[in-house]
Point group: C2
Chain length 406, copies 2
Amino acid sequence: MKNLLIAQSGGPTAAINASLAGVMEAALISARVDGIYGAVNGIQGVFEEKIIDLKEAVKSAMDIELLCQTPSSALGSCRFILKPWKEQEGQYEEFIRIMRKYSISYFIYIGGNDSMDTVYKLSEYCREKQIEDIMVAGVPKTIDNDLAETDHCPGFGSAAKYIATTFAELERDISVYPVPAITIVEVMGRNAGWLTAASALSRINGGAGPELIYLCEHVFGKEKFLSDVKEAMERKKALLIAVSEGLKDRNGKYISEEAQSDMADAFGHKYISGTGRILESLIREKIGCKVRSVELNLMQRCAAHVASDTDLKEARMLGGKALQCAVEGKNGVMASIRRLGSNPYAVEYTSVPVGRVANREKKVPAEMIHENGHDITDEMMQYLLPLIQGEANVMYVNGIPSHIII
Amino acid sequence: MKNLLIAQSGGPTAAINASLAGVMEAALISARVDGIYGAVNGIQGVFEEKIIDLKEAVKSAMDIELLCQTPSSALGSCRFILKPWKEQEGQYEEFIRIMRKYSISYFIYIGGNDSMDTVYKLSEYCREKQIEDIMVAGVPKTIDNDLAETDHCPGFGSAAKYIATTFAELERDISVYPVPAITIVEVMGRNAGWLTAASALSRINGGAGPELIYLCEHVFGKEKFLSDVKEAMERKKALLIAVSEGLKDRNGKYISEEAQSDMADAFGHKYISGTGRILESLIREKIGCKVRSVELNLMQRCAAHVASDTDLKEARMLGGKALQCAVEGKNGVMASIRRLGSNPYAVEYTSVPVGRVANREKKVPAEMIHENGHDITDEMMQYLLPLIQGEANVMYVNGIPSHIII
């Protein structure tokens, strides 16, 4: 018996279940995989033996399609950091015991940075202990697009498409009144500005898009911001501004930290406010025009109804690729996308040693940020554009998208 | 020459341009309409003579389709309340002068409460002055669904579909971690809870939907809220809670007012916080579990990419109906929807004297709110469900929905 165990971890995305589907599909047609199991709540669920039969939970080709259009981890997630095995060998022994108990030969973990760290540690442990019949492999997943060693991450393209679509719609929304008004839209990304950059995609069909775009990789100065805004107001009445939640000042301090230390709510509690709200207050005080801030919040990571078809298909392929690697005896790899070209767009699916991925962050490089500090470059646009192409053919039932609930 | 002038007003919706398209289509096939003009920025644009030739701006059948999928008022909007003619007759004379100048026989105004008040006042003025060759008619529009004398309002169904879809997605998002967590989602509606009620539609395919739903028509008590939450936490770990932005206490004071009076931001400014954030703080203080609040904000009124096809088609029909009324010599009417049945759903398009609409608000009736005070009834579900049926066949270009910009 060579069974497969799959788990998911990290924050939700619209594409993480497409990767799960991809692993399953590849396993279903492989002669070298018998049972297909899922661990509920990631690696934590492995340790708790919350293990289900995925062939029972996802029975048909239709179920697999539903899985692909269901946002967020169908198998649940966890926040669980494995300590190095030398500090906590018992936990690693427990992992191996559980693998043996369920005859698991392949463990595929779909997730972001922390999950790739887990893949790395488990695979290294197997290597150290010369356990050669358990293969551990990873599938990248994060809306933040901050994983190293892959051109981009599944989940990012769908979030980018949601953001581009939403900015295009917001531009229409805020442009109706003939009065000066500023709308600040806060986009996820504490340390990487890829998602905020995606707001510029709203310009692709002739829209103006955000007048100003601030990525968290670029030092944020309030005086510069205010002068940018004043200058933009001379050109245009209704301004749309995109900001990363993780904007930082020259000392590396998050702009949002200000509020957290200075502000208390009606109950005397410190108020955790966002970057957008801080900047909203700043404009209200220093410029005094109509201003509001909008957070794209959880919607940007779970809006599967407007998922990028390119993203879902790639997520599925990477799931299959990881399974393929494991079956071929590659331990400690992450399935990865290599871009061959942007126009026409072409990629190949490959794998990389997961040790090169774990605990690194891929930030937006300086050459993709406009030298004016409040926009992106054409190079970034070329990078982003292919990732949002194609619309998922979402099945609606009773007026809302149909989801599978495992 | 019998020309037509169309204008739009009030807050954006995903369907207001479908009504504009409907007026245009009916006019294009009518032998009694010559030129088709649009006023930019509503009645204010009429007075400023910001008048454009709509046959030039919207040239083809394809342009009309694009118009239908473009959110927010393509002709812009305004905030402009007409005083009674006896107080400001000059303005009314100016209106007539402009109508004469452009040979306008029909003025169609698409909007909400204030716009219907404008339609009423202008039509009454014509009646008083025995001006019988200018017909003024209204087309209802509001995401709030609070206009009287129509079963529901164009724009509401699309916002409801966005809300239902988003709650279904948020439920998937918040359910992944095996820890107690509360997510409060604030939905638009200062005085009418129709949109908040639409969150319950996320249950239609077997999802749990929001565990608790609070509409602004029902007196909101914090103690009751906290006990509802604690009780719900015994049943379920991850709670989704829907609240109207306009929740009020027993004295009629908005819950959100608390923060506005007690809270100051980092710049010493009073902080205008939302109901969701207030309740987030309350739970953090009194219950102490993980809690976050999400505002659906502007997205709920402009998310045309997930518009209800039923809504768009009805919006278009009502535009046509208003034009038809005007051409038939009906002055001072609003096109209206009468529901003939919910299952199967059937409506007829009619017209009502706009004086019965202006300055009234249609709130959620008590029988549509569950007696427990934190849910809706089956009757509400039957009312809402037909309105979100069908998906608009949105045309995407370069990965985002294509919009027409007039």
